[in-house]
């Protein structure tokens, strides 16, 4: 990186600089005031806990459980959201009949249902999958409905001028037109599904990163808790980046313009 690059895009340098400054300040405050580990561990202690968790394969096992719960829930939510959203957006009667229920369920805090689901489905992974799916479902549903309804009139006129059938209009125009919205919904949903899985594990579980946080909490291993939080943040960022990469490939046209010229 040259000096000119830095001048044009100073944030490239500032972002890691803020991180370093923050960690250094944190470390020095903890050391200067001799804060005990069970109140606020120093970044170095968190790094040690993180290293230990990776070397004894503790994280791999629990992260795998949480991720599979979240992703299975996400896929169920995505499929159900796209199908139900499409049916609601395409058929006026279905919309009028179901929409009050959709709104009612949406205003209900879904995680409040978690204890009930654990009672019904047990401490295993299935209750977590259902909670993750429930939390991730609504962002998909709402975005699918909005996406399918925001087709500009000229495109529909064009299809009508060709005497297109309803299915042709849906397949050639309405559905692809909705994809940017659908992906916005999926991007939120994938992060929400991890939230759902963690909450499910809090309520009652044997394994998973949420369970691990509770274990560390009971043992007052605050450094361990921070380490798991860091891991969760990293997994969340990874999922988001994967979604972005898929999105860039699938809805390539919704990108900034690259004009060739007149």
């Amino acid at each position: 990186m040259t000096l000119r690059d830095v001048r044009q895009r100073p944030h490239v340098v500032l972002i890691p600089l803020v991180f370093v400054a923050f960690v250094a300040a944190w470390e020095s405050v903890v050391r200067a005031w001799r804060l005990p580990d069970y109140l606020l561990p120093a970044p170095s202690a968190i790094a040690r806990a993180l290293g230990l968790g990776f070397t004894n394969r503790l994280y791999v096992e629990h992260a795998w459980v949480t991720m599979s719960e979240a992703l299975l829930g996400f896929f169920i939510a995505a499929a159900a959201g796209v199908v139900l959203g499409t049916v609601i957006a395409q058929f006026r009667l279905v919309e009028r009949t179901l929409y009050p229920y959709v709104v009612a369920f949406q205003t209900l805090p879904k995680i409040a249902v978690a204890p009930l689901l654990v009672v019904w489905l047990g401490f295993g992974v299935s209750s977590k999958i259902v909670i993750a799916a429930l939390v991730a479902f609504f962002p998909v549903l709402v975005n699918v409905i909005v996406g399918l309804k925001t087709v500009d009139a000229p495109k529909l006129d064009l299809m009508r001028s060709l005497s297109a059938t309803r299915w042709q209009t849906f397949r050639f125009v309405t559905f692809p037109n909705a994809l940017p919205f659908v992906f916005a919904g999926l991007d939120i949903a994938v992060v929400f599904s991890v939230l759902g899985a963690i909450v499910g594990e809090f309520v009652g579980s044997q394994r998973g990163l949420g369970n691990l946080i509770l274990q560390f909490n009971t043992a007052l291993d605050i450094a361990g808790m921070f380490a798991v939080l860091l891991l969760l943040a990293a997994l969340g960022v990874a999922l988001h980046l994967i979604m972005q990469a898929i999105q860039r490939r699938v809805i390539f046209w919704a990108q900034p313009d690259h004009v060739i010229g007149a």
Partner: protein, 277 residues
């Protein structure tokens, strides 16, 4: 290409003979009203009658709100008139027809399709054979000056190029009538003049019948065999001016006296204010 195809409509024997069945599209006594927000009935078109001969280039000029677009939507079967009738190739128009190709104000391309796939959209929707029409689509892209662009996406093209794609799409299923709704209105003046020249060439080469809406008097005179002048509130035909300028017309013609005479005539037909918005 037979010579008769490029003859101005008024020089063609069938028209001179005045045979009704030789007309491509006729509109008789069209009325259109709509109900405004305060529940009052607003007339948009009043007693509009029009007949277009095969191969003719008719331009329809008028200020905003004179019902030009309403008229075009009725001709294209996208809108049912409140009164009157439209006949295309001798048949009453009750809905969209595959004998009509429409070029809208905006190109209305599908951004997720390549240029070629955009041009082939009518082929796909009408259930025609893709392989057969692929060659035709490529020919048309050449005709509109976009050879080699078939694999590009709309966001990679300029506004003028997009409207050319839209023109190729309107022609791909070989409709008898081309309806154009201010297709070059959004382009800059220079691109617009270039597009007018190209359109004249494409029209002559394809032999299509064209109804072309514009709010530019110069564009109307330059392109039209006949200029239908419309006045607003309610939209009705104020005058029909036959333009007997030789073809092919070039841009220099726009500075000629003959051109000026036609332009003045149309401006006068538009009423005392004589100004287009």
């Amino acid at each position: 290409m037979p010579a008769s195809r490029v003859l101005p409509y008024y020089e063609r024997p069938a028209i001179r003979g005045g045979q009704e069945d030789a007309l491509l599209i006729t509109a008789a006594g069209l009325n259109q009203t709509y109900v405004s927000q305060d529940r009052s009935v607003v007339p948009a078109l009043a007693d509009v009658s029009l007949a277009v001969a095969p191969g003719e280039f008719v331009t329809i000029v008028g200020p905003s709100g004179c019902g030009k677009t309403t008229l075009l939507r009725i001709l294209g079967g996208l809108l049912r008139p409140s009164g009157g009738s439209v006949h295309l190739l001798g048949r009453a128009v009750t809905g969209p027809s595959r004998n009509v190709g429409i070029v809208f104000q905006d190109p209305v391309l599908l951004p997720w399709r390549t240029v070629l796939d955009n041009v082939l959209l009518p082929v796909q929707v009408l259930g025609l054979d893709r392989q057969t029409y692929r060659a035709r689509a490529l020919d048309l892209l050449g005709l509109v000056g976009l050879e080699g662009f078939e694999g590009k996406y709309p966001h990679e093209l300029s506004g003028g190029m997009r409207q050319r794609v839209s023109l190729a799409r309107a022609l791909v299923h070989d409709p008898a009538l081309l309806l154009m709704d201010e297709p070059f209105g959004a382009l800059d003046a220079m691109t617009r003049e270039a597009m007018n020249l190209e359109l004249q060439r494409i029209w002559r080469e394809s032999g299509k019948t064209v109804a072309f809406i514009t709010h530019s008097i110069a564009e109307a005179v330059f392109l039209g065999d006949r200029v239908v002048v419309m006045s607003p509130r309610p939209g009705r035909i104020a005058d029909v001016v036959t333009v007997e300028l030789p073809r092919p017309r070039d841009l220099d013609l726009m500075a000629s006296d003959a051109f000026g005479v036609y332009a003045r005539k149309i401006r006068q037909a538009l009423g005392p204010r004589g100004m287009l918005e």
